[in-house]
Amino acid sequence: MPIRRVALVWFLGALIPCLAWADNPLVVEAALDREVAAPLLDAFEEAHPHIQLNFRDRSTLEVDARVADEESPPDVVISSAMPWQMARVNEDYAQRLESPEARAWPEWAKWRDEVFGFTFEPIVMAYRLDLSRYVMPPKTHADLHTLLTQHRETLRDKVTTYSPSRSGVGYTLFQQDARYTTRFWDLVAAMGATDTNLEANTRSMLEGLSEGRYWLGYNLLGSYAMVWAQSHPEVFVQVPQDYSLVMMRMAFIHRDAPHPGAARAFLDFLLGREGQRVIAGETPLFSVRSDVMGPYTAQRLRDQVGERLYPIPLNASLLAFVDPSRRAAFMERWQREFQRLSQPEPSQGEPSAESHIDKGPQR
Amino acid sequence: MRLLVIEDDPLIARSLDQALTPLGNIVEVFTHHAQAREALQSGHFDLVLLDLGLPDGNGLTLLAELRQRGDTTPVLILTARDGIDDRVEGLDLGADDYLAKPFSLAELEARVRALLRRSQQRVDNRLAFGALTFDATSGVATLYEQVLDLPRRELLLLEGLMLHAGSITPREALENRLFGYGDVGPNALEVYISRLRKRLEGSGLRIRTFRGLGYRLEEVSS
């Protein structure tokens, strides 16, 4: 398939003489660690030597801002901030991908054949070996709540999770948590009571765990955490036993992509057997396709964890998460709940941390 | 004169033979078209009497063949079918006259004589009726071998009557002959007729008037 695509690409190049194919660039704006994605990008460049890949690793918010850049729009947009990606697609910033790969992609991992979730990433808890010396490490969300309530003093300042205001991913995860149960807010209050540290990304949380600053982390990206745990034996990863959220990295071709041919080639690669094989075998990201083999496949994860995986649905309901007033209301409640139990003796760190919460929509 | 009779009814055939031979003719009778066709191809006849209803085919076919060959031998059609369509078709095909059965021998003889006269005229350009003769080449008419000294119009009139002698000459034909196609008074022709009548008095010939139809030069005895 790649060879045929190259042939087609060559053919198109011959048709358009002014377009020098050899230096045909492809701009990918991605909220995806370059080192994590490196094997994938290498494999693509190998398969399409004539496409000069320009991979720009940015934060989710930066990526989102680049989409609306009318001067130099990117070709492909990749982000794990699912609601924002969804909103951009709804705003007609994506173009439809008509290819066998796109058609064969599972319904639950795509929307309008315009945006595709190409990775499958479980959300996990992680704890430091130290924790198990004092308490039973939590296996479920309820365990976590009990732990935080019963060992409030022991765990004070030792717990970490995403900041909903500074991380689109974190915000999305909490929104999704809140959708499943109202007891989530008790968990937030309990986290607030233990002066939980709010981080902007999973890497910071993992670093804190390894350094011993944190004993327990909640809502980490499983892909990163599992790789980390392999090289850091003091960190243990726990896939929640009651339910485990699953996040997807979403990619779409920009409506005004300057290099649509290359962009289509890139997306087809991501969705194709080869790209998915690289994702499953050479990156910590889990592949979506069920027909590839490797340590990191959705199927293997399901086999391990059972049916308790709850992928964040890739549909219009995500759009509600980026609604400004809903977001404001959510953030307001988060703040209220976070401070509820610590009100009598307000902690020092948190209010200052939450003062960063930006009220406006994140675009 | 040599006459060819094509007739399959033996009674009629014999009557024709007996009636026409005494007039100085040689009569040959055939009862089939095939024989008659051969006879016509091999020999000369002055008149053909043709019966249309013969067992071996339609007489009209034979007539058509004859005329196609350019043979102008006069043909008198005899038939029991007196349908006008047959008659018209026969005349169209080049028959010279038509007689429906049953017919009286007298009528037959008259028709035959007229046809033979015409046939003769075709041969030597000479007309003869009773004691009267007319030579069309020289324009000389004789009565009892005496040259008749006639003015031009009377001569034309005589020729016209003699051409149809024994039968009626249409009045229009005579008028055209004498006066051309111009308008002419109703009595103009009558004037010349009465002059000619006077000249023929005592010749055994007379001119009979058919009101509105024409005139006939006939022998007094008939």
């Binding site: 549909n315 209301a329 | 349908g83 058919f210």
Partner: protein
């Protein structure tokens, strides 16, 4: 002449096809629009539901409307066709409380939505959107200002539902047409069964069988069956008349033939040449009469026979009269009479007719005149032009006939009350027949000079027909 022109089946099929096609176009157009309406209704109700779900979430805090957009509302809006979605909650001043696209809600729309919910189509960024707006009266502690909720989505689902519904309608229609066609064929077989039955019955009939039909036919075929019956009746009558006529004719011919036989028999028994001669004279005369009778019978039969189609033509009556008179004047039989033409009009006079029959007609009249007048009589033919009709007449200066006899003159085999002259009396009957065939009128009267005058009045050809 039977000309086969298509089949009933193909004729019906063509009609069916034509009507079905015309009807089909209408039906399919209707089906398309109703599919569109159905899809519209189905999806509009989703817009309505989404708007209601959002309305449920509107609350008032400190005199300001706040809304926490429910995810469910957006999922309802997106439908399973994954439409792109739009929503906006506007306060009483038209300010956006919450919303997701910069799709402008025109003041005019807001005004209309304030009285009742509205649906409308709008193009946004080159795509057609279906929008729904409704006003929500809300009760709060401080204010009761209404808010407007607007929702919308793209129209992929509507289009594909319309397509699906339309396809179903088309499929149903095609199946219906095919079924109707098959049923039509079956119905035709059933409906045409009486026709087949009649055909078989007619085919089985003997040529001589003129009995009325004995069959069951549907009402529509009654007329045809009755026509057939009446045709059989007429044929039967015609045949009976022909038989009667043939019998009469045979009788008529037998009489003179019997005379011939006895005369010749007597002559053969005799030794006297005078007796032979006398007999031969009688035989000759009788033969002549018999052949005339035969030809008249033939004419009569021909006249009674069915009229040949379109045998009539435009005929110049003057030429015909001239020709016939000329023909007769030359005949032997006419030599003792003075046959002639009165002076004729200068221009041709046209009538419609059959030339042979008209010649026969005039010939018979001339023949009659020759036979029933003494030698030397004057017979004159002429033409008089009247306003409406053209009169052909023939008159003689013979003895004439009495008025009583005149009324019976044209019955066959009647001889005008005279037994003295020869003739069968068929002549005037033939004349009468031909006159009726030409829609002409015949008048027989006494001539001024004492003889008989027969006048025939023919309808003129109209100017148009002459042209």
């Amino acid at each position: 002449m039977i000309e086969v022109e298509g089949t009933l089946k193909s004729r019906l099929a063509i009609w069916l096809l034509a009507t079905v096609s015309a009807l089909g176009v209408l039906l399919l157009a209707e089906a398309y629009f109703s599919s569109q309406r159905a899809a519209e209704r189905a999806y509009d109700s989703q817009l309505e539901a989404a708007a209601l779900t959002i309305a449920e979430a509107v609350q008032w805090e400190a005199g300001q409307p706040v809304v926490e957009i429910p995810s469910a509302a957006l999922q309802i809006l997106a439908t399973r066709h994954q439409e792109r979605v739009f929503y906006a909650v506007l306060d009483a001043d038209g300010q956006t409380v919450s919303g997701n696209l910069d799709l402008d809600i025109a003041p005019e729309w807001r005004r209309r939505a304030s009285s009742q919910p509205i649906w409308l189509n709008d193009a946004y960024h080159g795509t057609q959107w279906r929008l729904y707006g409704r006003e929500l009266d809300s009760a709060g502690w401080e204010t009761q200002d209404p808010v407007q909720i607007w929702v919308g989505h793209t129209m992929t689902g509507r289009e594909s539902l319309t397509e699906v519904l339309f396809e179903h309608a088309v499929t149903r229609f095609v199946i219906m047409v095919l079924l109707a066609g098959v049923l039509m064929l079956l119905a035709m077989r059933v409906a045409l069964a009486p026709l087949r039955r009649l055909r078989q019955q007619l085919r089985r009939r003997d040529a001589d069988d003129m009995q009325p039909l004995d069959t069951r036919v549907p009402e529509e075929m009654r007329e045809m069956a009755e026509t057939l019956d009446s045709l059989f009746t007429r044929q039967r009558q015609g045949r009976e008349a022909l038989l009667r006529f043939t019998a009469d004719a045979s009788h008529q011919l037998k009489t003179p033939l019997a005379g011939l036989q006895t005369t010749s028999e007597l002559a053969l028994k005799s030794d006297s040449p005078d007796a032979w001669r006398q007999a031969l004279v009688e035989v000759h005369g009788s033969a002549e009469r018999t052949s005339r009778l035969a030809s008249q019978l033939l004419s009569m039969a021909r006249l009674r026979h069915a009229v040949e189609a379109n045998a009539t033509a435009r005929i110049d009556a003057l030429a015909l009269l001239h020709e016939t008179a000329f023909d007769w004047a030359q005949r032997d039989a006419a030599q003792a009479h003075d046959i002639g033409l009165a002076s004729l009009p200068a221009s041709p006079q046209y009538i419609q007719g059959e030339a042979w029959a008209l010649r026969e007609l005039l010939g018979n009249l001339i023949d009659n005149a020759l036979r029933y007048t003494p030698p030397g009589s004057v017979i004159t033919l002429g033409v008089v032009s009247h306003a409406q009709t053209l009169e052909l007449y023939i008159e003689d200066d013979g003895p004439g006939v009495s008025p009583e006899v005149m009324a019976h003159l044209h019955h066959p085999f009647e001889r005008g009350g005279r037994q003295d002259t020869e003739g069968s009396g068929l002549g005037l009957a033939i004349v009468d027949s031909i006159v009726r065939r030409h829609e002409a009128r015949m008048q027989v009267e006494s001539a001024e000079k004492g003889g008989l005058r027969v006048r025939l009045f023919f309808p003129y050809l109209t100017q148009h027909e002459q042209g």
